[in-house]
Symmetry: C2
Subunit: 358 residues, 2 copies
């Protein structure tokens, strides 16, 4: 066969038709809260806004975090820019520093670290969980660690006990914790545990909670004054204020927060159950997702499986290798139940055919 090689998630962008089932990109298919669009009717701003972000939005966010104040937030172009700014701010006085990434990781992280002229190093998750003893060994000599719980791509949530030990250990040693909590409102097993401390930088966004991926509004939150000031200073030169219209939509969306999150929790849980049980029934080896909307089952020769699933069964999956999990495939289940069911039927078909001979 002479199909093009699938080298990165970018391959799948723009590929979509009625017949394709995409377990690829991690974006909610559900629409944002109606309030977000309602605000557009009277939207008239056009001048520069505060680089740090509009004050009413930061004040509203501060209510979500204990002890937080509006000045502790920087509104960014999605969580991506928040991570980029956090890493660049940390690297400012210490280029070439090491940053610890639990593996499997979100595929952008090693790039983010490298683009900030720092060096990614790794600690291996065990069945998706952090091992504190290994963590202590692996964080040695690191300037920062990037934690993502609930995790993309593992779907796991870290134990509160482990997170508390990490907090204490890092604070004592002056190691920054970048805590990417973009899935904090999509947890099936417990409430979110907010990592906190003097050198913690929390990353979040409106993309997952409010299904606003394309509008690119995220933020970083920290009680570390130097990090906030450096991030604002950098952003004033590298992108200035985040789009005012996006910020207005985000603020409006927050007015529906509780009812929106609650009504969606049921939908996500139903999809999670369907996906997890369906895959187990097919005999696949995977963890039960505790948060976010991903499963990461084991496959023999995942690159070939991804290839065959796409070209022969019209299913998009992501190669685990992109996430530091070379023996697995990532499936996003941000899809309606009918599509998940059809997708599972196709996976079954694949398992009974090509895969049997791998």
């Amino acid at each position: 066969m002479s199909h093009p090689v699938i080298a990165s998630p970018a391959f799948f962008i723009g590929k979509g038709n009625d017949d394709l089932i995409s377990f690829g990109s991690g974006q909610p298919d559900l629409a944002p809260p109606p309030s977000a669009y309602k605000v557009l009717e009277h939207f008239k701003s056009f001048k520069y806004g505060l680089v740090q972000g509009e004050e009413p939005l930061r004040e509203e966010l501060a209510k979500e975090y204990p002890y937080a104040e509006a000045e502790d937030f920087v509104i960014t172009n999605g969580a991506s820019e928040a991570i980029d700014l956090a890493l660049r701010a940390i690297a400012k006085d210490a280029p070439g520093s090491k940053v610890l990434l639990p593996r499997p990781y979100y595929y952008s992280y090693p790039h983010n670290v490298a683009f900030a002229w720092m060096i990614p190093v790794y600690t291996e998750l065990e069945e998706g969980k952090l091992n504190f003893e290994h963590f202590k060994r692996d964080v040695e000599g690191c300037r920062a660690v990037l934690i993502n719980s609930p995790s993309n791509p593992t779907g796991t949530v870290q134990e509160v006990d482990t997170l508390k030990k990490i907090e204490e250990y890092c604070e004592e040693r002056g190691i920054y914790i970048i805590s990417d909590e973009v899935y904090k409102d999509l947890i099936y097993v417990r409430e979110n545990y907010l990592l906190h401390g003097k050198r913690v930088i929390t990353i979040n966004s409106f993309s997952k909670t409010y299904a606003m991926c394309g509008l690119r509004v995220g933020y970083l939150y920290s009680k570390d004054r130097d990090i906030i000031e450096t991030a604002v200073e950098m952003k004033s030169h590298t992108s200035m204020n985040t789009s005012l219209v996006g910020q207005a939509m985000a603020l409006a969306a927050m007015s529906e927060r509780d009812s929106y999150v609650e009504s969606h929790a049921k939908i996500w849980r139903e999809r999670r159950d369907l996906m997890y049980k369906g895959m187990k029934a097919l005999g696949l080896d995977l963890w039960e997702p505790e948060g976010a909307f991903y499963v990461l089952p084991k496959f023999k020769n995942p690159a070939r499986a991804m290839h065959d699933l796409y070209y022969n069964h019209k299913i998009i999956t992501y190669n685990g290798e992109w996430f530091g999990a070379p023996d697995r495939l990532r499936f996003s289940y941000a899809l309606d139940v009918k599509k998940i069911e059809e997708g599972l039927r196709r996976v079954k078909d694949f398992l009974g055919k090509e895969y049997a001979s791998y």
Copy 2:
């Protein structure tokens, strides 16, 4: 007096009342084209868009540049992100390289170069103009040069003859030219000359032409395939697609391009004439602006003058030192005629009082 020291343009953000005349920030006071808001009525997108930017917008932009194609553009969070991405893409294989900045420069440039882990070096403008002989001497050993014509803060437009020589000289030596042309539609003396060549990266934005500063839509354009691919790859990790709602507004604004730009040209020329003649009449030493909306008159002790103008006369001006012009003050005349007239009266008052004793 114990007034706070004014250390950077950030000092003035959020300071504004009816009684204050701001010659500070460089943002048009005129509203964007009505079409830009009209598109909001039916706006419903929320999913991730192409990291490179929406195709209809890039296709429309390609019509503005000879030989351009949609794939030569990357839509960014304003010109700021376009400059950041261009520099980071250049630095990727050559950290620590030198980048030449004509001085006076837009105040973000040295920061942008440093944030990309490169080193800013300078060539002095003469009365706001590039001297090609000095340019050749100063560009020695540089990986890139950043040209801004029409210029913020000088208000000058570079000679076409000089620009052509620079194009040829840099192309022969493989030096990147980043050409920041955000004021290309605000030129009083001639048509814009588009710098072009294999290693030219053109920066532009909707902020000045369409008065859309706060909506943060800009772009970079280059025929250098490697730069475009690297910029898109970086952006896919550092901010992803530019806000879809901003891009929709930008595309709508373009439908009114010619009539909007033409009707505004008259307004800008009237303001330019008023500002320049008014300042000459006050005996100030300055160049006649050829583009953009800034004048850069000489002052004795500009830091003190900026301070007194603000605290005693309620006028915001920017210290020339922030732009590498330590003997001058920058005045933006993006203000209506009445405010410019009142501002000039206050400057006259200042010149006759405190300033006389400097």
